[in-house]
């Protein structure tokens, strides 16, 4: 017989939150939702409450001085999770203002317990708990009384088998000294940072007893649908070693859709790899990416594209538009300038899972960086590393494009120093031959695989990319002005 108590984990109904909590909310736990004003604490509490409350396990929401209840109800019901039919059947509000006028913790505790006995809720919310503390401690009672009050409240709620949430405005320096933070079984901290005119909301499960939470800060959004959390991608040991060693190399190859390119890559791109296609503007990176998706569609493999270069309405080529219309390729909508990597990753993985996609295109990393909120731009390389590891760990093959200005004086593969993140690299560039711009392509890296070292001319016509002859008779190609080898031999160079 297993003598351990089995703690049920409740699904909160808030997208992403259960992941942060380590699988859900422990039943009968005593929790604190804290943060500065305007961070979304009351919205989170309501979303959890409407998600969890049922007639068999109702919720009791105690309102205190903080936000006027009239206004709270007015605005909260704008969210789709607010089901007015649940009021009174599954959810009851109770105002504690009168108890606070008397300024006594015991009176407040008595009222809460009386209502809990009467209504027998499965969930209890107190908003704002901070108002109770302020109203009472400013009058007569001190820290010791607060600690006793919180302890008694916690014990009573647990014995009445109610999962409890205290909601309160706290600033970071206060957090360490308040007894609530010590007594709480779970602490969810919400914050919002304004960085170069960009607002980023973050959430952290500071503490959750008895289970392992997803550590660190995670981004979230409050949209018309309520709160959506984007858990930060954390690379596990398996994913990390896969990303580095590519244990599945050679297990399967992905055709690129461009005659001759698969041969240059040693038989195609190994499945589950990330490929970086770099080149200057107009060199044909997006066309190569489109061919990659088209080839997948021909083979019955769904694709997903996150297009940061153009809006969906002006999407690229007819070829790609047709793939999107026929649902062979899904498009990730990108909200410019305030994205987080994790939000993009969430949207990508959601679409990959939904469509069972095998091929993913990110076009381009330069546009992606621009679409991120400024504070994430500073951490772009590390975030990109996490994202690629996460995506490749779910088995998709990724093609990323990156614009790289031709300099002809040095050899670079990425403006972000992100070339090491890719398992394979294709470089496109312009060269000048006989007074004309020509395009050249080469495969410079395919991890764990033999590949061509040739530099080949290529052209773009109505059929897409057409590979030309290898530039084996030229030298000085990297300078952008190749010279026929025969000319060198004539001059004795």
């Amino acid at each position: 017989m297993n003598a351990k108590v089995n703690i049920r984990r409740l699904k909160t109904g808030v997208p992403g939150l259960d992941n942060l909590l380590g699988g859900g909310l422990p039943e009968f736990s005593f929790n604190l939702i804290a943060g500065s004003p305007g961070t979304g604490k009351t919205t989170l509490a309501h979303q959890i409450m409407f998600g969890l409350a049922t007639p068999a396990s109702p919720a009791l929401f105690f309102t205190v001085l903080g936000e006027p209840t009239l206004k709270m109800l007015r605005y909260q019901q704008q969210f789709p999770f607010f089901d007015a039919e649940k009021i009174n059947k599954s959810i009851r509000y109770f105002n504690l203002s009168i108890e606070l006028v008397e300024g006594n913790f015991d009176r407040v505790l008595k009222s809460i317990i009386e209502e809990v006995k009467k209504y027998q809720p499965g969930f209890v919310f107190v908003d704002s708990f901070r108002s109770i503390v302020h109203a009472i401690m400013d009058k007569t009672q001190g820290e010791a009384a607060l600690e006793r009050f919180v302890q008694q409240l916690g014990v009573h709620m647990a014995t009445w088998q109610a999962t409890t949430f205290l909601i309160g405005e706290y600033l970071v320096p206060e957090a360490g000294s308040s007894p609530v933070f010590t007594i709480a079984d779970g602490i969810v901290w919400m914050a919002q940072n304004l960085h170069r005119n960009s607002l980023v909301r973050k959430i952290q499960v500071v503490k959750i007893r008895g289970q392992e939470q997803a550590p660190g800060l995670h981004t979230f959004r409050i949209s018309d649908n309520g709160i959506q959390i984007y858990p930060r991608a954390i690379i596990n040991a398996g994913a990390s070693s896969d990303a580095a060693g590519k244990g599945n190399a050679g297990e399967g190859r992905v055709a690129m859709g461009i005659p001759g390119l698969d041969a240059m890559m040693g038989g195609g791109l190994p499945s589950g790899y990330s490929l970086l296609v770099v080149g200057p503007s107009g060199s044909g990176k997006t066309i190569l990416a489109t061919e990659f998706l088209t080839e997948g569609a021909k083979r019955g493999e769904t694709g997903v594209i996150a297009a940061f270069e153009k809006s969906p309405s002006q999407l690229l080529s007819n070829q790609l538009s047709a793939l999107i219309k026929s649902r062979q390729v899904g498009v990730i909508e990108t909200r410019a300038l305030d994205l987080s990597i994790d939000q993009t990753l969430h949207d990508l993985t959601e679409m990959i899972t939904r469509t069972n996609a095998k091929r993913v295109v990110i076009d381009s990393l330069s546009g992606f960086e621009l679409a991120l909120a400024p504070e994430f731009q500073e951490d772009f390389r590390a975030s990109l590393y996490r994202m690629i590891a996460e995506l490749t760990s779910i088995g998709v093959t990724i093609l990323m494009t990156s614009e790289l200005e031709d300099r002809y004086t040095d050899l670079r593969f990425s403006p972000f120093g992100s070339a090491f993140l890719a398992d394979a690299i294709i470089v496109q560039r312009y060269i000048e031959i006989n007074g004309e711009f020509k395009r050249a392509i080469s495969v410079v890296k395919v991890r764990g695989s033999q590949h061509s070292k040739q530099i080949r001319l290529f052209d773009i016509n109505d059929d897409g990319i057409v590979l030309g002859a290898p530039l084996s008779d030229y030298t000085g190609i990297m300078t952008g002005r190749p010279v026929p080898s025969s000319a060198n031999s004539r001059t004795g160079q």
Partner: protein
């Protein structure tokens, strides 16, 4: 949508019709129950604001419907309202009572929505009904 088209208005009308033979004092019972429900939801301050505004709007038709100058508790407000009704003919009191109920629930619905307002109204009516039944049973 006009409030007269609403289920809420029908609820109020049916309730008042059911107790048409009651006197002015009986009209107050629903107000007392409403006060309890609204205060539980939005607090004393919320109820007082709603009531004062509703009274001000209803006074344009029934100018005699004035609150006590120092009334701050809902019980005091209900007592004053009872006095005002008793000072009038019962038909006049019933008409004012109906309009005040419609005005307050209109105001509440404009702030927290029709559905929650109906929930509050029904709870107040049901609690009175339950109380009447339990009194009958105990007798």
């Amino acid at each position: 949508m006009k409030s007269s088209d609403l289920f809420r208005d029908e609820l109020i009308k049916n309730y008042l019709d059911r107790y048409v033979d009651r006197d002015a004092g009986d009209l107050i019972i629903l107000w007392e129950r409403m006060a309890i429900q609204i205060i539980a939801l939005v607090g004393d301050g919320g109820f007082n604001s709603l009531y004062e505004r509703s009274l001000a709007l209803t006074q344009t038709t029934f100018p005699w419907l004035v609150d006590a100058p120092t009334a701050v508790q809902s019980a005091q407000r209900c007592a004053t309202l009872r006095l005002r009704f008793e000072e009038q003919l019962i038909a006049q009191a019933r008409a004012a009572n109906h309009q005040l109920l419609v005005t307050l629930t209109d105001l509440l619905a404009s702030l927290i929505g029709e559905r929650i307002t109906v929930v509050i109204l029904k709870m107040a009516m049901d609690s009175e009904h339950a109380e009447v039944n339990s009194t009958k049973e105990s007798n």
